[in-house]
Amino acid sequence: MIRLYFAGFALLLSCLTATAQDANIQPILQEYQAEIAKSSRKTIGPVIDAIASSGSPHAQLMLETWAAKNIWMRKSDGLFFVGEKTDTKSYLLTDFDSGDVVGSYPKSDLKQLKPNSGVRAMIATALVQFQLMDPDAAKRQDALTSIQRDPGPALLAPLRTSIDSEPDPTLKAQKQRLERLLTIGYDQDTKTRVDAIEDMSGELGVDVRATLNPLVAKTLNVATGDIPTGVNVAATLEPGTDQFSKADAYDLLVAKGMAPALVSSGDMRSALAANIEGGRVGGIPVAQLDTDAARNAAYAALADAGKVPPLITQADMDTALASHVFFETFAEPSAEVTTAATDALKAINLKVGLNQALDLTLDALSLASIYFLAAIGLAITFGVMGVINMAHGEFIMMGAYTGYVVQQIIPDHTLSIIVAIPMAFAVTFAAGVAMERLVIRWLYDRPLETLLATFGISIALQQLAKNIFGTQARPLTAPGWLDGALVVNDVVSISFIRIAIFILALVFLGVFLFIMKRTRLGLETRAVTQNPRMAASMGINPGKVNMLTFGFGSGIAGIAGVAIGLFAKVTSELGNDYIVQSFMTVVVGGVGNIWGTLAGAAMIGFFQKGIEWLNPSNTLAAQTYMIAFIIIFIQFRPRGIIALKGRAVGD
């Protein structure tokens, strides 16, 4: 290790003077001719060092060629050359130093150098120092990446040497960071490592945690009498606590061979079965051995007779445990380092926690915007008009399929999405208008019948989609510029699609508010929903207004479908996934109020993410609890978060 370190310095020196010196490599190779010709991991170290530090401009080429098994030794004089196969029998040899071709030789005159994998790994390590200083920035980047992937003590010195001469500032920063990490892991000096740990404390990178975690990894250990000196003890354990039960402790003793194994019920059973004599075991008839007590008695009898190892009782276990100490040790011997690492990890984890909370908030926000998007059409048809449209989910599905069909016709993803949005609106608007005219308008004061009739439409539409598009999921591909994510740091990131959906949700909100509050249609809609007869007497055509409003709500559902199709699978059952949640969003938020829908979507989104965070493996459970929560929530606010008051609602 130290040797390498110095070798690094020598290399640095030689680098500075390399051009002047122009040392040849062949003499060095000849110096170690025997070791090179028959390489082994044990002996090759100094040789590689000598080559690497020779300062020869050909050292890198030589090492690369060696690792690639392309060096051949001329048997006649023991010189080494680059060999290139010309035909099956002969090889073209090239000199390292001059680069001249020295001629073609039959295979029988040559010996190929075949370093084994251990040697090749050492060569690769030695090569890193060259790659780190390679004039090509891409090569240097590759070298760094390979060190990151597979760090090792030997890499520390070359890395350090290469930092000062690094011209590229980003690469330099990377090198410096990597140097800190390698220092933490592999430096010899405790103080240096502790300093490095303190430097990196508070860093969010996964690599920092990956470096620190092995340092504080603990192993369970046991010793007779006192804890041995010279180990870095993390904690002493008392058997019989919640974290460390007596059974665990005894198992550890057994595993370490410090106590006889317990007789398991399976062992006992086979032992008994092996000792049946004349229908009896230990004097007890076999037929009676169907209780644990009887079996224990029979086993004890066998043990007394010395036929089986004795049963280990609780008392035996206790004495065994009492004569041992149990403790956890760090793999890292230095206590200073482990303490510093523990503290640093604590600081990092706190920061990671905060950032995770932020990330979760972003996730929740994007889930909320999806719910909002899915529910906003419903906020119009159900919230404003009071029409229960169970086919709302199928309108979302229709929008998504429209997007898919458009993409089949227009291959350009950006353009196709731009076309798909108005198309989806048009298709679902038409479907909505048709449905309103044909079905819903006959059932305006009959919400339960509307529910069932629209459900009938929903199953028909679903099956129709299945008949047309089949059961497999159809892709709706987002344009390329929506791929990828906005990465804030190693913990916080949000994909562009989610950002786009968030923005779309905001746009929808704006459009909704504009239409309802600022346009004639909005005014008439509100008039008709509040008092249709009065509105009619004022020259508004309620039929037309209802038709347009319902179409508008359905059209928005279609656009939402395009957006949802971008990240969810487009199947005929797409709508099922959103219908109940959408209704919940509207109901929880408060019917008839778009801000309520917004609040409802936010609440459901955040709540669901919150539960998923508590129990990350189980999204089903999250949904279950969320619905249960909503049912309870409605107990306390039957009219939703933002309740409309007045006679119109309750009576």
Partner: protein, 409 residues
């Protein structure tokens, strides 16, 4: 005015007679006891249909008579199936485990048997311990009690919460749908204790019964017919009395009932829980005939179909619910089973497996729009009872109230 219950409700007698005749005919034609014209699997289908009729009666009580469009009764139906399924599966597995362990030299202990059963049942979800909800699964009696108690309790708690906060109309429907969805999602989890999406299977085998499926299917047919008969009778008796008056009042005009001094919430809760129990019993009879139950059975859509059957049969009349359930579910079996002949149109062939749901969906819209009385309206045609002419006015202000065309004079 004081006439006997049967005299006042001649339809009950007719219904019971038809049911008895039907059961008799199926028995005579069956493979198990009769001439073998009707296959065992069709006997099972018929038995299952009777159970669906029973749950439709329950649905009619809660929706047609009380005006609560519950989209949760199939959840209770499924729960009832799960409860009986737990015993069936436990007991059958126990027999198998005991049988296999008895081959060994040493007789098994109790805990070895239970571990063995646990391994067999929960192996598919990577577990072997019995969850708490299986505590009574070793006792047929207790598990039979659970068939009514568990769904009943769920209905009681849910109903209490929902009715207490005076959620009505579509809000209540959506809430019940949410409950169903939550239950289904919960059961889909592997650690729900009920084998996740594997569900419970092998329920058609009655533990300890050597009789063939030919006979067992008939036993279940009889049991289902008996349950339907009793359930129908009970429901008819309940609605013919003053309680029926009160719940009809709640359907048409809840506020009026309240101001008469009746605690509307209590009545709704009683009917909701009672019908949940009927649904659970129907489920407990259905799933042993189906052989398997899994959470998909509980999905909200099943409950909506239930409402569809009742609506097609004609809500607010018990025989309507039975006719609707029997007709639609048998037709559905026929169409989706591939027996219905395809219709070649030249350029396209209508395959009913693909188009049946479209037809059902659209015909449902048509029934809602044009014949709110459903198939029960045919009976009115025969008895020459007309709908009143109320110029489009419903029979009460509430969402669940009868429509002009639904009522008869």
């Amino acid at each position: 005015m004081q006439r006997s219950f049967i005299a006042k409700n001649p339809s009950v007698l007719i219904f019971l007679a038809c049911l008895a005749l039907f059961t008799l005919i199926v028995t005579v034609l069956s493979e198990g006891f009769g001439v073998g014209v009707v296959s065992t699997s069709f006997v099972k289908t018929l038995g299952k249909t009777l159970c669906l009729c029973l749950v439709a009666v329950a649905m009619d009580l809660i929706w047609g008579f009380t005006g609560i469009l519950s989209l949760g009764h199939f959840a209770f139906f499924g729960l009832g199936g799960y409860m009986i399924g737990m015993w069936l599966m436990y007991e059958r597995t126990r027999l198998i485990v005991v049988e296999s362990l008895s081959q060994t030299e040493i007789p098994p202990t109790k805990s070895e048997i239970i571990d063995g059963i646990g391994n067999q049942i929960f192996g598919v979800v990577g577990s072997s311990d019995f969850p708490l909800i299986w505590a009574f699964s070793d006792s047929l009696f207790l598990q039979l009690a659970m068939v009514v108690l568990v769904p009943g309790l769920l209905a009681l708690v849910f109903g209490w919460l929902a009715f207490r906060s005076r959620v009505t109309g579509v809000y209540l429907s959506i809430l019940t749908q949410a409950m169903t969805l939550a239950l289904a999602l919960y059961l889909f989890q592997n650690d729900s204790g009920l084998r996740g999406n594997n569900g419970l299977s092998g329920l058609q085998n009655l533990p300890g019964v050597a009789a063939s499926q030919d006979e067992v299917s008939l036993w279940f047919l009889w049991a289902s017919a008996l349950a339907l008969g009793l359930g129908y009778l009970l429901a008819a008796w309940v609605v013919s009395g003053k309680l029926g008056s009160v719940i009809l009042g709640i359907r048409d005009n809840e506020a009026r009932v309240r101001f008469l001094g009746y605690s509307v919430e209590t009545y709704k809760l009683v009917v909701f829980t009672f019908t949940a129990c009927i649904a659970a019993i129907a489920g407990a009879l259905y799933y042993p005939q189906a052989g398997i139950i899994n959470p998909a059975e509980i999905a909200p859509i099943a409950s909506i179909y239930l409402a569809v059957w009742v609506a097609i049969g004609g809500r607010g009349r018990l025989y309507g619910a039975v006719i609707g359930a029997a007709f639609v579910s048998l037709l559905s079996t026929w169409f989706t089973g591939g027996q219905a002949p395809d219709i070649p149109l030249g350029f396209y062939t209508i395959k009913w497996v693909d188009w049946w749901l479209v037809l059902l969906g659209l015909s449902f819209v048509a029934v809602t729009l044009f014949t709110p009385k459903g198939m029960g309206g045919l009976v009115d045609l025969l008895t020459q009872r007309k709908s009143p002419n109320r110029h489009g006015a419903n029979l009460g202000p509430d969402d669940g109230a009868l429509r002009e065309q639904e009522a008869s004079q």
